[in-house]
């Protein structure tokens, strides 16, 4: 587990600043070596022998799961990179501005050889503070990237007013309330906030709770801006709802029945997987001294016992689904029926 190579996926619409972030990662003196998988050769100004060009070949899997897609080129490239294991500490995958992050992320769960040797660390989205609002209207890809991300950089904040910035952050939060959000100019962010996040590590799901908690999926979460300006969005500010992508957040202090919960959630992702982009949860099962954590991408679910519940801890189950036109009432009813 520990010797798996961490992989960071960089997404972001055209011109948002992915290449700027990549150049920072490669040029800052952190003593780490990165293998970088890019789509456009030549944009990277840094000399790095482990830069590989990718083709973004998205392959459907013949497993009866319509949204189960993988990046075939990535499987091949990672297999090739692993021939040189020891020459790099981590892998960064840059995706094109129009890319859907799901096939990249799913590759790490679907391909056994890739999953055995690498682990998805986090999906990082770079968003352009000035243009994101427009892109969210006209580019479904941009919205997908925000919804999917574990870490979001709202970049080019110097090009907008504080009011505009607050508005764009609320729009981002309306789509994805649990990602870590950072305000940046020229993608200037401590690299520890972007790399080695362990966002896909079930052991670390707890880390996401401050932004992850909350019942309305709305804009009332403190963000985690590094500038100290915690934007508690004040009363009177517009409460944004995205018409298309929402999060459904569920919680209960009633213990769950695993014999009801697992069939329900498996059936849910089997039916609504195409519209569910991400899900995460911490669960308290009846008679189970351990916390159960899980996360998923579309139809793929990954879960395990994490650790015993502590004495001083409220035994509460919490789940978030982020997706497109989610059947919220169905989900709420189904979840309620899983309680003992």
């Amino acid at each position: 587990m520990t010797d798996k190579i961490p992989v960071t996926v960089l997404t972001g619409y055209l011109g948002a600043g992915k290449t700027t972030l990549l150049n920072r990662i490669l040029s800052e003196p952190h003593g780490k070596k990165y293998a970088v998988i890019v789509n456009e050769f030549g944009e990277i100004g840094i000399d790095n022998e482990l830069i590989v060009g990718a083709d973004e070949e998205v392959f459907e899997m013949n497993n009866g799961c319509i949204c189960c897609t993988v990046r075939g080129d990535l499987i091949r490239i990672i297999d090739g990179l692993m021939r040189r294991k020891g020459k790099f500490d981590a892998i960064i995958v840059e995706t094109t501005g129009l890319a859907d992050p799901a096939p990249v992320a799913q590759t790490f769960f679907v391909d056994e050889a890739v999953g055995r040797r690498t682990r998805l660390d986090a999906v990082v989205a770079v968003a352009d503070a000035k243009w994101l609002k427009d892109r969210l209207k006209d580019a479904p890809e941009a919205k997908n990237q925000i919804a999917f991300a574990d870490v979001i950089l709202v970049n080019k904040t110097d090009l907008v007013t504080p009011e505009e910035l607050r508005e764009i952050e609320m729009r981002v939060r309306a789509i994805n309330p649990y990602a870590r959000l950072h305000r940046t100019q020229r993608c200037s962010v401590p690299l520890g906030d972007v790399l080695a996040r362990n966002a896909f590590d079930l052991e670390r799901i707890l880390d996401l709770e401050p932004a992850f908690l909350g019942s309305d999926g709305g804009a009332h979460h403190p963000d985690h801006g590094r500038d100290g300006a915690h934007a508690h969005h004040h009363d009177g500010m517009a409460h944004y709802h995205d018409e298309e992508i929402q999060s459904v957040s569920l919680r209960t202090e009633e213990p769950l029945d695993p014999d009801k919960f697992f069939p329900w959630v498996q059936d849910l992702v089997a039916k609504d997987g195409p519209s569910i982009l991400r899900c995460k949860g911490i669960l308290a099962f009846q008679g189970d001294p351990q916390r159960f954590v899980f996360q998923g991408i579309h139809m793929i679910l990954d879960g395990d016992h994490q650790r015993p519940w502590r004495e001083d801890e409220k035994r509460e189950s919490r789940i978030v689904f982020i997706g497109r036109n989610l059947p919220e009432e169905n989900i709420r009813r189904g979840f309620a029926a899983c309680q003992v």
């Binding site: 013949n62 075939g72 091949r76 692993m82 021939r83 040189r84 391909d111």
Partner: protein, 332 residues
Amino acid sequence: MTDADTASLTERTRAIVPGGLVAAVHFLKDTAAFVLGEAALLLAAPNREQRRVAIHDGGILAAACDGQRLVTGGDDGKVMATDAGADSTIVAVDPKRRWIDQVAIGSGAVAWSAGRQVFVKTAKSEERTTDVPSSAGGLAFAPKGFRLAIAHYNGATLWFPNAAAAPERLEWKGSHLAVTFSPDGKFLVTAMQEPMLHGWRLADAKHMRMAGYAAKVRSLDWTADGDWLATGGSNQLILWPFAGKDGPLGKMPRMLAPAQGLAVEVACHPRQPVVAVGFADGLVLLVRLDDGAEIVARRPGAAPVSALAWNATGSLLAFGTEDGEAGIVDLG
């Protein structure tokens, strides 16, 4: 076969220290050529001499061998050919320095691919190229006639590099990786991204689905008589029957040598009905097809077997592992 057989075999193993992951192994005459993950080959000659031959400036991504020449493709964009005397020549350098993903050798020609582009250098050193719809997952020359099979997404392409005609396309949904012709040239089989094989009977493009695997199949090899296709991808050796004109259509595979670990590498003995099987736990077994008898050729180790090959007479079996252990078993 008895424990005494096993003891004698493991005693007759010459340990090799390649110094890194063994990506593949092939025999150049009776010299074992261990293809390392990076930069070099390690040639282990029968007189126990060892030579490290630096051939690539980076990772070695693919290798193929006809017993005389070992062809390798690297992430330095080079295609190299090396003989038993450690003489290496450049077959080609990709003008854009793209990764050379796949290589094949046959009919005196060499084939390689970089992404969607596939190249052949003929025996007369003429270069030909064709494009496939997605990156090539595997290449194989037909046993007869100058023809190359290219596996890719949603099927395979059959290309006569010397013919002007458009390549023939065999369709089947999904991502096709390793590819192999049956020794009689009647069937083409691919290993897929999913844990299954797909086959076509070339006379009528009839489909054959070979499923039931536990994992992606990474290794395929034909028995000496061509009657069986041996594969890894399961916790035992899987053998598909190809003796009849219908191949494995409507037939069950034979399953031999059930084991704890996943069978990852297979290599058929070049003369006898015996298959060497390398497992994910490092075990190497010799399996006799007549009666299913097994002999341990290498005991389990710390890492999966990643390379396995016989010399042309079947007197030597070379193996290598992901953590850089290797050896040559002398059965002569």
